[in-house]
């Protein structure tokens, strides 16, 4: 759980070289892999008739297009489900929450095989047109390369976590042609601190990704847009209102996404049937509404064109995309929530603009500003990375006015969603696994340490029928002041302190109920709070399931553990090189 103390630290210059070298290698690998993933998905989209440009070329055979529209996502879902079930040790797709967990607790990522299979099924899910995103798998792919650094013994503390951050930053930087956003994403979502030791290599890796995407391969920017800027001052207020609306949309989306999975699992027992059913739902919807297929790059572009969608059409599309994305991810398709979030958010922006400019007749600067603000407001609530989203807008549009408008939408959206839902989808997913970042990184780290690991050896126990002098003698011998009295099954009855009851035949009547009891699920953070006002030298720990006495922890040991962990975090967060 903590860094391996057996690693001896290398001299500073060597550490700088190791960090830079790692950043370059991981950045290059992650960037190339991200490009390869995008190309593979594009190839599949074309050959499986998911991409509009491929579909239209078979337009003379409408039955073929209709058949592939239904069959491709359904069979894709079936294969994805079967592969996860039979070939992947993790038996599920992996994503950013797994990366966050590994980095935060300096644990290895889930097995390489699970990771590669998850990436492969992501390519298939996206290629077959499931309503999922590409950035989650890309982030995980980048993290795999970073995670390989764990095997190295190069004398840099936390090298694996930093290298994972490098991989994630390079993947995002390559995907969006946005190196600054890549750096911020790695820090805001994955690393969650800004130590120079991590910041410098992550920046190097992010720039490496940008160089590969932009200079060597000359890939076009994901989302180029020309906009004249903001014409009216009151539009900032409109954009703030839009931020509140997309937050509501994002909360609905995330709740649905988290709820649909378990609900579906209860009704459909076989996992491959769940993904196949979700694929079938996508295919049937796409017959009438082809915009729901896949990542929706074309739809995203249409959202920036005035009047591309009618008001009814856009509402139907928003609902369909929310439900289908929640269904696909909940059912077990491999893929992220970010790209669909971009699309849904921009469509909500379009709807807002249609109402504001069409029905309310307010003069505006065009739909593009609202589409972008809605897109980023929604997406930032989902991934919990407001700074990253603001920077993505800035790097994609290179337009100051648009960025400021998007920033307003992002903060208002985050205000609501953080309060009503949580910092992000990832954090809520992690909280359901028992890792709670809602009160900060240090709290989560303390919560990951369990008091049962700090049991003191030699706690004195007694049975209720023992005479007090015997117990007192044992206590004196071991240097304890209280004995823990157990019944015949080893369950805790209370504590006994020698003194007033010495004349009694047995200690039974003199047993006091324990003032404070921990169990084997109690974590350090909770323990420290409950220790407030506690007087005594040790707290008994019992099994949460059987109630059996496991041992006792001393207050001093818990304080020492807390101080150690705080010092370790402080060191990590302030490390220079």
């Amino acid at each position: 759980m903590t860094a391996d103390p057996s690693i001896s630290t290398a001299p500073p210059l060597l550490r700088v070289l190791v960090l830079t070298g790692t950043a370059l290698v991981v950045g290059t690998a992650a960037s190339l892999a991200a490009i390869a993933l995008v190309e593979l998905v594009a190839l599949l989209n074309t050959s499986l008739l998911v991409a509009p440009k491929a579909r239209v070329q078979w337009e003379s055979l409408p039955w073929l297009v209709a058949a592939t529209t239904i069959l491709v996502p359904t069979l894709g879902g079936l294969i994805v489900g079967l592969v996860h079930r039979h070939l992947s040790p993790a038996e599920r797709p992996l994503g950013p929450p797994d990366v966050i967990e590994a980095v935060q607790f300096h644990k290895p990522l889930p097995g390489l095989r699970s990771g590669l299979i998850s990436t492969g099924t992501a390519a298939l899910s996206l290629g077959a047109g499931a309503s999922v995103g590409q950035y989650g798998p890309m982030v995980y792919l980048g993290a795999i390369f970073g995670g390989a650094a764990r095997r190295l013994r190069l004398g840099v503390p936390h090298l694996a976590s930093i290298a994972i951050g490098c991989g994630v930053a390079a993947a995002i930087s390559t995907a969006f042609n946005a190196p600054i956003a890549g750096v911020l994403f790695a820090h805001e979502v994955v690393l969650r601190h800004y130590a120079t030791r991590a910041f410098a290599p992550v920046t190097v890796a992010s720039v490496t990704g940008y160089v590969f995407a932009n200079v060597i391969f000359e890939r076009p920017a994901l989302f180029r847009i020309e906009t004249p800027g903001i014409a009216h001052g009151y539009e900032f207020a409109l954009v703030a209102a839009l931020g509140l609306i997309v937050a509501a949309g994002a909360i609905v989306f995330m709740r649905l996404l988290l709820g649909l999975g378990p609900a579906l699992a209860r009704r459909v027992k076989r996992p491959e049937l769940r993904t196949a059913l979700a694929g079938l739902a996508v295919g049937l919807t796409a017959l009438a509404l082809p915009d729901v297929l896949g990542i929706g790059t074309s739809t995203l572009r249409f959202a920036t064109i005035d009047g591309a969608f009618g008001p009814v059409e856009v509402v139907i599309l928003i609902i369909a995309k929310i439900v289908l994305t929640a269904l696909c991810i909940g059912a077990g398709f491999s893929g992220g929530a970010f790209s669909p979030a971009l699309l849904i958010g921009s469509l909500i922006g379009v709807f807002f603009w249609t109402v504001a400019s069409g029905f309310a007749a307010v003069p505006t600067s065009g739909v593009a500003i609202y589409a972008i603000s809605g897109m980023m407001g929604f997406a930032s609530a989902v991934i919990g990375a407001p700074l990253t989203c603001i920077l993505i807008v800035f790097e994609l549009t290179r337009n100051y006015d648009v960025t400021i408008a998007a920033m307003v939408a992002v903060v208002f959206s985050n205000l609501v969603s953080h309060r009503a839902f949580g910092r992000s989808l990832f954090d809520v997913q992690l909280a359901r696994r028992g890792i709670d970042f809602s009160l900060g990184r240090d709290r989560a780290h303390l919560a990951a340490l369990e008091v049962v690991d700090y049991l003191r050896t030699g706690a004195v126990t007694a049975r209720p029928d023992e005479p007090p002098p015997d117990v007192a003698a044992r206590l004196q011998q071991h240097g304890w002041r209280e004995a823990f009295v157990l019944d015949g099954d080893g369950r805790l009855l209370g504590v006994f302190a020698p003194g007033a009851q010495d004349a009694a035949a047995r200690i039974g009547p003199g047993v006091d109920p324990a003032r404070l009891v921990f169990d084997d699920t109690t974590d350090l953070a909770e323990a420290m709070e409950r220790l407030r006002g506690f007087v005594g030298d040790a707290v008994p720990v019992v099994s949460a399931t059987t109630g059996k006495f496991l041992g006792a922890v001393s207050e001093a040991d818990l304080v020492a553990a807390w101080l150690d962990e705080a010092a370790r975090l402080r060191k990590e967060e302030n490390a220079s090189a």
Binding site: P52, Q57, S60, E226, R301, I305
Partner: protein, 352 residues
Amino acid sequence: MRLLELCLAWALCATPVAAEDLTIVSWGGAYEAAQRQAVIDPFAAQTGQKVDVTSYDGSWTALAERGPAEGWDVIDMLADQARVACARGLLLQLDPGALFSSEALADFTPVRPDRCSVPQNAYARVMAFDDRAFAGVKPTRIEDFFDTARFPGPRAVQLSPDGILEWALLAEGVPPEQVYGLLSTDRGLRLAFRKLDTIRDDIVWWQDPAEPARMLRDGRAVMAAGFNGRFFDVAQNGRVPIDIVWDGRVIGIEVWAIAATTDAPDAARAFITHATEAASMARLATRIPYGPTRRSAFDRIGLNPETGVPMRAYLPNAPQHGGRALVRDSAWYANTEDLRQRRFQTWLDAGR
């Protein structure tokens, strides 16, 4: 390259088929004349090969009907027509790796030789305007073609969906790399025709490619969509104040291909190798403003031998042009012909 030429010349002299006539098929007119001077005559002089030149209308159906009977060997085609002809087995399979070195293959731009054809020049569908019509501010962007408030007057447009749909989406702010993707959706087509609606009453239609330049000359239109070579010809030789807007140019690729029924495959290959050398491409481009399809050829392009005009500025794919450029997607064009025609006809009928 020198060594390769020598080898090829030797190979040609050594083979008996060299005695056969090589039939080259092109488009006639000023284009074919320039091709003779720049490419075909030098080849004949260099190799002693007897060459006939025939003209056709550029369609793959003509190749299927006339090719075998007339003994066609090498054909000048549009890339999308060549693609269809290739799929129908009308063209001889080429091995680009055997015809060109890997450096030469990497020199081709924007597309490389494929299994049936070798790119030879680039033409463009561009927007041109009559300079006399706009005394003050001149049109500079494709958006201006659709802006009848700032730039009033009739617009000459081909009676066909080719090119104009691309312009409609470019004018909506769609970046060139997404234009064909968006035109593939029903919504994209709807938006494109919505944009066309804004100039519906200002359109004068043309069908003969020579017509738009004449319309500008005669004042029948103030702006026109047409091919860059035609505008160049009228502007230079007719002394007409026509200016070309390079923004939004839709670049098409002209290729050389060999008929499947050829009786002189070796001579045909030798001709294609000769015709697609940088020097040959540059010679052609100084006579007619069709750009070379190899990067290294741009450095060799100088003055037009007759008028003395520096030609590099008039080539559609010259690197110095700014603005947006779109390379015509030949596969997409070949496979969406029916759909585009159908939607275009519906739009035309709706306006009647």
